[in-house]
Amino acid sequence: MKDIILEYVKNEYLDEDEAEEIGLDENTPLISSGIVDSFSMVSLKRFLERKYSISIPDDQATPEAFNTVKSIVDLVLRFRKDA
């Protein structure tokens, strides 16, 4: 799951050489570093919902929950369990 989400973040938000430049990994801050902002976060949320057949309520799609791929994986796992 981690690799799939990392791949999505790379393609959706970064240019080809950027990912390497910043050394993108599961702990790279996405929101607080400005790679993803609240405006562009919508597509990531939709991707997760589709890919993992979950529904993330808006009040759970917080900047903190989406700040790293690691926290995103935790969020997805939590909602999968709830389902």
Binding site: E12, Y13, D15, S33, G34, D37, F39, S40, V42, S43
Partner: protein, 415 residues
């Protein structure tokens, strides 16, 4: 009346937090009309300083142009100060309709509807013409007012990487199941001064059955050989479904904006766009002045030609002096400094030299992309810009950044 202490405390804490983050906006008092040279009181209470203004959206120098001011006076005398009404009750004068028609003709669209501002146009248009069967696909760097307008609309939201046509195409393919697809972009991006590739965007829109929306606020009046904006610049005049723009920048600089485009879209805005329905008509002096501006621009390209010459001089001067600038064709010329503190220090020193500029840093621009944004005007002249350039060289030299590339500046000052 109740203003609970805990609420007041929370407000004070929030204000303090804005100050602590270094993003508290201080307003500077200008004691003269808007122009290339202005008298500024800063810090508050200090003696007035005459400075070269390099941060206004007064691209064509029409904000205080005598003919525009005279037209506004005439509007005031002949049609009064305000309408005390929204448009559909008793706020529409013949001149409102005349201006709408003239704007449509100028922008090469089918019709136009005036709004109190372009912020209001952007806030109202999406909700008026799209529903939950549709998708809005926006460039990630569009203006904040577009982001707000999209949030008020029930259509699905999506974004593409800034000016990345491959990514936009991917998104268009992904959303072929939607009733309507609307590609949304600025014509000229206000922080970088770069242009959306409208020729490529229109080609993609045709291939994938999408409509195109362009906010041309930083282009109307001067981009393109006759100032019709970025659609003219890219040879796609008449092919944009929705243009929003402002009367608050090149086209007079006061206020007012519009949605211009397909007949049905304009008509739907007139029936449904909430900022249009629930705010007053544009005041008559502004309407008269805007009509005069369009007359001036239709009679001659002199002012946009001078702006273009000033822009060329300024871009070449800065590059020649060894600054890193964002390349482009627009009169928005960002001088890249990358480090936030450096952008603030240099802006302060330039002010002491009589040059009024603002340093921008995260979150207004991306992290590590701090800059001083300069904006040219037809009201500037070459001697004035040459003086400003000398000041930039002195300050650039003081900080040892002349001739350094991005890496050099970052190595010296960090991000």
């Amino acid at each position: 009346m109740a203003y609970p202490g805990n609420v007041q405390e929370a407000y004070r804490a929030e204000l303090q937090s804005i100050r602590d983050r270094g993003i508290y906006k201080e307003e500077r008092y200008i004691h003269s009309p808007q122009a290339a040279g202005i008298d500024v009181e800063f810090p508050r209470g200090a003696a007035l300083q005459q400075v070269v203004n390099l941060c206004a959206n007064n691209y064509l120098g029409l904000s205080s142009h005598p003919e525009v001011v005279a037209a506004a006076h005439r509007g005031l005398d002949e049609r009064g100060y305000g309408m005390s009404s929204v448009r559909f009750i008793c706020g529409t004068q013949d001149i409102h309709r005349e201006l709408e028609k003239k704007l449509a003709s100028f922008l090469a669209t089918e019709d136009t509807i005036l709004f109190p501002s372009c912020m209001d146009a952007n806030a109202g248009v999406f909700e008026a013409v799209l529903n939950d069967q549709d998708v809005m696909i926006a460039d990630r760097l569009v203006h904040a007012s577009i982001v707000d307008g999209m949030r008020l609309c029930k259509a699905m939201q999506d974004t593409y990487k800034h000016a990345d046509m491959k990514h936009l195409e991917q998104k268009l393919q992904e959303h072929q199941d939607k009733r309507a697809r609307l590609i949304i972009t600025d014509g000229v991006f206000s922080m970088d001064g770069d242009l959306a590739p409208l020729d490529e965007i229109v080609a993609l829109a045709e291939r994938y059955g999408a409509m195109v929306f362009v906010d041309d606020s930083h282009a109307s009046g001067f981009m393109g050989k006759t100032g019709r904006g970025t659609p003219e610049h890219f040879g796609v005049l008449g092919k944009i479904d929705i243009i929003t723009t402002t009367l608050g920048k090149a086209l007079g600089g006061a206020s007012g904006g519009c949605v211009s485009g397909r007949q049905e879209i304009v008509d739907l805005c007139r029936q449904k766009a909430r900022p249009y329905l629930f705010s007053n008509a544009v005041p008559p002096p502004i309407v008269y002045a805007a009509l005069k501006v369009l007359d001036i621009l239709s009679a001659s390209t002199e002012r946009r030609d001078k702006l273009e010459a000033n822009t060329t001089f300024w871009r070449q001067g800065l590059t020649g002096a060894g600054f890193v600038i964002k390349e482009g064709d627009s009169p928005i010329v960002p001088i890249m400094l990358f480090n936030a503190k450096l952008s603030q220090d240099m802006a302060r020193d330039l002010y002491a030299e009589g040059i009024y500029v603002i340093g921008f840093f995260f979150p207004v621009v991306a992290a590590g992309q701090a800059r001083i944004r300069t904006q040219l005007s037809a009201d500037h002249d070459v001697p004035m810009l040459a003086t400003a350039l000398e000041a930039f060289k002195r300050v650039g030299s003081k900080y040892g950044i002349l001739g350094l590339d991005k890496k050099g500046i970052i190595d010296k000052y960090g991000l």
